[in-house]
Structures are given as structure tokens and as C-alpha cells.
């Protein structure tokens, strides 16, 4: 039985349709990436799934409970990491965690393992206002984990972070999925979606254009090729051979037998290529 079941979900901001008949399931321990450009409906979908917005139509079931009837029971078992850094700036990391833990009914808790895991233990008692963007984001992720959630909602969890912080956040997400938590993450970073997600949903103008594993999407919609570069005199020649062509073997043999061979790269379509192919839009739009 899926942990999350979404059927025909729709929501409009006035006349602007943000989410238009979206349906999907998320299994136990699965990471689903919602991939799409700004304004595609990713954050609105997350808001409905976390009880911040009431859908205009459609149904949501999380952990076998229905929204909005059992919103409070659902919220007790989920963790949410928001796109904006909504932390209490004049409180320390430890105080922020203690406050939110109490809202979940947790009166006593050792936060050190959490803070150590994201590299904040040395700054645990400093006010958040003195933190860098990456530190705040790591604290946001930590806050989403204090109730050991069965489902994690992560809205652009690595947006604008440096590579070190991004890596730290990705490790936490993978560890949570390994623990058994289902994860829905929104991103417009194709590499992040590719690396982390078991399945990817392409959202565009409020609708899901495709939903499958990255591998299947690439196989179904992508184009496999080999790029061979060689030097000829002062200039560099580049040949791209389509692996789905009929004379692949011969073409590759000819290309690699030339003098001045420099590099041979296999190439596969990226999620961005597929997104553009399916929607006609770039993920950075």
C-alpha cells in the first residue's frame, strides 16, 4: 500500500491554475523528485500535502489518513523542510529544535546526534542570526527530522547551497530513505533529482508530464550517443555517433582509427534534455 496517494489534485490562486489534476503514489522508503521550473506547481503541491493549503478538488491520503479530515494526525508524523529559511533568528539551533520538539510533544531529547550529523554541533548554542545560508539549511533539515517522520517533504532542500552543504543535505536525505521514510522533494536541479530520486515526476504548468525512474525516462525519451574528439593539425574534430543507429559499430571503428585521437565519451540524455523535449521549456525558466 502506498504511503502517499494523490488523486486528481487541483488548486488555483484566483484565476491562476497552480495545480491541475495531479495524481501520483509514493511507496514506503521511496524518494520521489518533483522536477519542474519555477511556477510549475511543485511548492503548491507540497503545501497541499502538508496541510498548508486545502485543495480545490481531488484527494490526498498520507500514511492511510485523509486530508483535510486527519490533517493534525498526519502532521504529527511528517517532517517538512520549507524553501524559505523560517527559523527563529534570535534563538540558537538547540533552542529552535527544542521548541519544535515540544510542539510534537517531545519534552526531553538529546539534539547533539542530530546537530553532529549535519556539522552544527560546534555552533549549536549560537543564535541562528549568525549562521550562513548553508548552516541554516542544514538546521532546517534537522528540524524536519526531530519527530522521526514517516514522510519527509523537502522543498528545494539544496537551493543556493555550496557543494559541501549540498552534499551534507543529500546524505541526510539518503539516510532517511534508508531508515524507511518516504521522501518527496521538489527541485529544479536535474542533477539532484537524478542523484537522489528513485522516481522523478516532471511538473509543468500544474500538470505531471511524465513520472518514472530516471533510467526509464532516459531510455524512453533520451538519445544515446558517443562523442569522439581528435586533433587534426591546429583544430579539433568532434564526431557524435548515435548509438541507436543501424551502423553503430562501423561508425565507431572508423572514428577511433583516425590519427590524433583525443577523447571518447559516451553520452546519454540528461533529465533536462528530456524535460525540454516533453514540455518545450527549460527547467531554469
Amino acid at each position: 500500500m502506498p504511503v502517499i496517494e494523490v488523486r486528481d489534485l487541483s488548486f488555483s490562486y484566483g484565476d491562476v491554475v497552480a495545480v491541475d489534476g495531479v495524481s501520483f503514489d509514493v511507496a514506503d522508503g521511496e524518494i520521489l523528485g518533483l522536477l519542474g521550473p519555477n511556477g510549475a506547481g511543485k511548492s503548491t503541491t507540497i503545501k497541499m500535502l502538508t496541510g498548508q493549503l486545502r485543495p480545490d478538488s481531488g484527494s490526498i491520503s498520507v500514511l492511510g489518513m485523509s486530508m483535510p479530515e486527519q490533517t493534525q494526525d498526519i502532521q504529527a508524523r511528517i517532517g517538512v523542510c520549507f524553501e524559505e529559511k523560517n527559523l527563529y533568528e534570535n534563538m540558537s539551533a538547540r533552542e529552535n529544535l527544542a521548541f519544535f520538539a515540544r510542539l510534537f510533544g517531545i519534552k526531553k531529547m538529546d539534539f547533539d546526534p542530530f546537530l553532529r550529523r549535519v556539522g552544527l554541533i560546534d555552533r549549536a548554542d549560537d543564535r541562528v542570526s549568525t549562521y550562513s545560508k548553508g548552516m541554516r539549511q542544514r538546521l532546517m533539515i534537522t528540524r524536519a527530522l526531530i519527530n522521526s517522520p514517516d514522510v519527509l517533504f523537502l522543498d528545494e532542500p539544496t537551493d543556493g547551497l555550496d557543494p559541501v552543504s549540498s552534499q551534507a543535505v543529500r546524505k541526510v536525505i539518503e539516510a532517511e530513505a534508508a531508515r524507511g521514510a518516504s521522501v518527496i522533494l521538489t527541485t529544479h536541479d536535474m542533477h539532484e533529482a537524478d542523484q537522489l530520486s528513485d522516481r522523478v515526476a516532471f511538473l509543468n504548468e500544474g500538470r505531471i508530464e511524465a513520472l518514472d525512474t530516471s533510467e526509464n525516462l532516459k531510455l524512453e525519451h533520451g538519445r544515446r550517443s558517443v562523442k569522439i574528439r581528435s586533433r587534426s593539425g591546429d583544430h579539433v574534430d568532434e564526431i557524435v555517433i548515435d548509438l541507436d543507429g543501424s551502423q553503430v559499430g562501423d561508425e565507431i571503428s572508423r572514428a577511433v582509427s583516425v590519427e590524433g585521437l583525443m577523447t571518447i565519451h559516451t553520452e546519454e540524455a540528461t533529465l533536462e534534455d528530456i524535460f525540454i523535449k516533453l514540455t518545450g521549456r527549460s527547467l531554469e525558466a
Binding site: G51, E84, L87, Y88, N90, F99, R102, L103, G105
Partner: protein, 361 residues
């Protein structure tokens, strides 16, 4: 719908107290405000100066002033002028503290003795309250009576609105009591509005309501925190300015209602506030009209009937009546009902606006 979760409400209130204590501006302005208001109260004079200097001109006026000085002119310091021009100049410039002047016609004595109608001009600036001009009319009548033994052939009608406090003049210190109490309440209203605006702008409220805490818990916590903050501060002030001696329970009940009301205003100001300046702007929007009843006490005669429609009128009236005139529950009930009614209205508006704002985030 079930009631608020006490554990969650207490957790949010504790967090707000911590945030308030750590906000240097709001914390120190609250402490400094309390200290300054107490000092101001005790520095203000506790005596009433009931004398007023009135200039007069006219033929043989000195004789009349001597007569009048002994009869019906308590509190009047009468000064004779040799011409109307000099009198007008003195009144216009406030020379010699002349508050207003009386210009008697040269045939005043003859006319009064003959029982003929006379016209006495009152020379006053626009700043002189109408009550004082009326008082002067009475004085002239008394003077004419002293001269002729008969009343002037002029009939005057006076209508006293509200409780006639003639002879019950209170000192400036006493008059400041409601204003200072109200200023403390308003200061705390700004503090709460600042905390609410901060929660909205940083969207921490969204993080709170995606836990088992509901908007209802969040709103309840803000009401509890705001009321606690305002009530504790105003009680400290009232203790420091000795305002709990007469009817302490009545004063505390009034202040509790006042604290609840300003908390409701803070919900509105906090909903619209984006930063310190906008919080200040929205708070001032409420503060200025709400202070009018208290200012009305400082400037008697300046208040109009519509002031009774201002939500804080009841609060000021009860506090003044209780602390300055010994009023009790019986006299305070209508104003308590008025204050309670306005508090309910303020909450309907405040909760509605803040709830809508939070839902829109």
C-alpha cells in the same frame, strides 16, 4: 472543533517570552517606559491652582472690582485696564497671565441701577474653553447683583453634561493616571505586534502550523502572551503610582479588559506590519484615536460627545472615577459593559484578520 491544546499554547507563549526578552528594543523600551511613566507621575504637581487672572476695563471699574472681589469671585484674580485696546493686547499676548478680559460699557453702573439691559464684551482668544466664557458671564451677573441688589435682566441657561464635577477639581498628576496606564498598554501592544509581524514575515508561523499545532493554538498563544505582557506591565505601573487602593478588584478587572483589547489591536497591527516602521505605523493608527479619551481629561472642555464612542473611553472613565472620585462597581458597570463590548468587537476583527493572513502565507 476542540479547544486549544494547553501544552502547545504554553510552549508558544514560553517561546514568545524568550523572544521578547531577547529583543533589546522592545524589552528596554518597556522597562524604560515603565520607569519614566512612574517618575513623570510623581514629579507632576499634586495641587490644583484654581485661580484665574481676568482683565477688565470700563468707567469706574475699580469700584466694581473691589465689590466683586468680596462676593462670588473666589479663584478670580481681577486686574483693571485703562482702555479696551490695552485689555485686548494683554489678552492677545497673554501679558500678566491674563486669560480673558471683560469690557464693561461706560454706562454699566447707570444701566444696572436702572435695570436696563447691558452688553458686556468678553475678550478671549480661541484657546479659552467655552466653559470659562460661561463662567465669566455668571461672574458679571454676580457683579451686577452686588451693585444693584437685583439680578441683571438677562436670563442664562446652563446645561451640565455628564457628572458635574464642580468643586472636585483633580490635580494634573491625577489626570495623568489613565493616560500613563494607557500608554503602558499601548507600548505592550507594539511589542506584541512586532513579534506577530516577525512571525509572519519570517514565515515561522508556517513551520509552527505544519506540526500538530493548529492556527487556533497559535492565535490563543498570542492572545495569552499579549494579555499577560500588557496586564503585568500595567499592574506594575498602577502599584507604583498607588492606584490600587480604592477598588483594586474593579481597577484590575478594567485593566484586564484593557489588556485584552490592546492585544486584539496588536493582532491587527501585527498582521499588516512588515517591519518595525510598518508596525509602528499601524500601531500609531490605533494608538492616537485610543488616547483621545485620556487626553480629554487633561484638557477639560475639549472633549465632544463622540469621544464616548472610542473603545478606550470606558477604561479611562472607570480608572478616573475609581481613583479620583471614589466610584465603585455600581458607577463602573455601564463603562465595563462598553469596554467589554468593544473588546469582543476588536477580537472578532483581530482574529479574523490574523487568521486570514496566516492562511495566505
Amino acid at each position: 472543533m476542540s479547544g486549544p491544546n494547553p501544552s502547545i499554547v504554553a510552549t508558544i507563549v514560553r517561546k514568545d517570552l524568550k523572544a521578547f526578552a531577547r529583543d533589546r528594543f522592545y524589552f528596554w523600551i518597556s522597562v524604560a517606559g515603565l520607569v519614566v511613566y512612574v517618575v513623570v507621575f510623581w514629579v507632576l504637581p499634586d495641587t490644583v491652582n484654581e485661580s484665574i487672572t481676568v482683565g477688565a476695563t470700563g468707567a469706574g471699574i475699580e469700584t466694581m472690582l473691589e465689590k466683586a472681589a468680596g462676593e462670588g469671585s473666589e479663584g478670580l484674580n481681577l486686574v483693571a485696564f485703562d482702555s479696551r485696546e490695552n485689555l485686548e493686547t494683554a489678552v492677545a499676548n497673554g501679558k500678566g497671565d491674563v486669560a480673558l478680559g471683560l469690557a464693561f460699557p461706560d454706562d454699566f453702573f447707570e444701566s444696572v441701577m436702572a435695570g436696563r439691559p447691558v452688553i458686556v464684551s468678553i475678550v478671549a482668544t480661541a484657546a479659552v474653553p467655552p466653559e470659562l466664557r460661561t463662567a465669566m458671564t455668571s461672574f458679571v451677573r454676580e457683579a451686577a447683583f452686588a451693585i444693584s441688589g437685583d439680578p441683571l435682566p438677562v436670563s442664562l441657561q446652563e446645561q451640565i453634561l455628564g457628572v458635574d464635577r464642580v468643586g472636585d477639581q483633580v490635580s494634573l498628576r491625577e489626570k495623568m493616571r489613565p493616560l500613563l496606564a494607557f500608554l503602558v498598554l499601548l507600548l505592550e501592544m507594539m511589542s506584541l505586534a512586532g513579534i506577530i509581524a516577525s512571525e509572519i514575515q519570517s514565515r515561522t508561523v508556517v513551520a509552527v502550523i505544519t506540526t500538530p499545532a493548529r492556527i487556533f493554538d497559535f492565535l490563543t498563544a498570542k492572545i495569552v502572551f499579549g494579555t499577560l505582557l500588557a496586564f503585568s506591565q500595567v499592574v506594575l505601573l498602577l502599584v507604583a503610582i498607588r492606584s490600587l487602593s480604592g477598588e483594586p478588584l474593579l481597577v484590575l478587572t478594567t485593566m484586564l479588559l484593557g489588556s485584552l483589547m490592546v492585544t486584539a489591536f496588536a493582532l491587527i497591527a501585527g498582521s499588516f506590519g512588515r517591519d518595525f516602521i510598518t508596525v509602528l505605523f499601524w500601531s500609531m493608527l490605533f494608538m492616537i484615536p485610543m488616547m483621545i479619551p485620556a487626553f480629554g481629561l487633561l484638557f477639560p472642555g475639549s472633549a465632544s460627545v463622540w469621544i464616548k464612542a472610542i473603545p478606550t473611553y470606558g477604561l479611562v472613565e472607570i480608572l478616573t472615577g475609581t481613583t479620583s472620585y471614589g466610584d465603585g462597581w455600581a458607577e463602573a458597570v455601564p463603562n465595563l459593559a462598553l469596554l467589554g463590548g468593544w473588546t469582543v468587537i476588536a477580537y472578532v476583527a483581530g482574529l479574523g484578520i490574523l487568521r486570514k493572513k496566516v492562511r495566505s502565507l
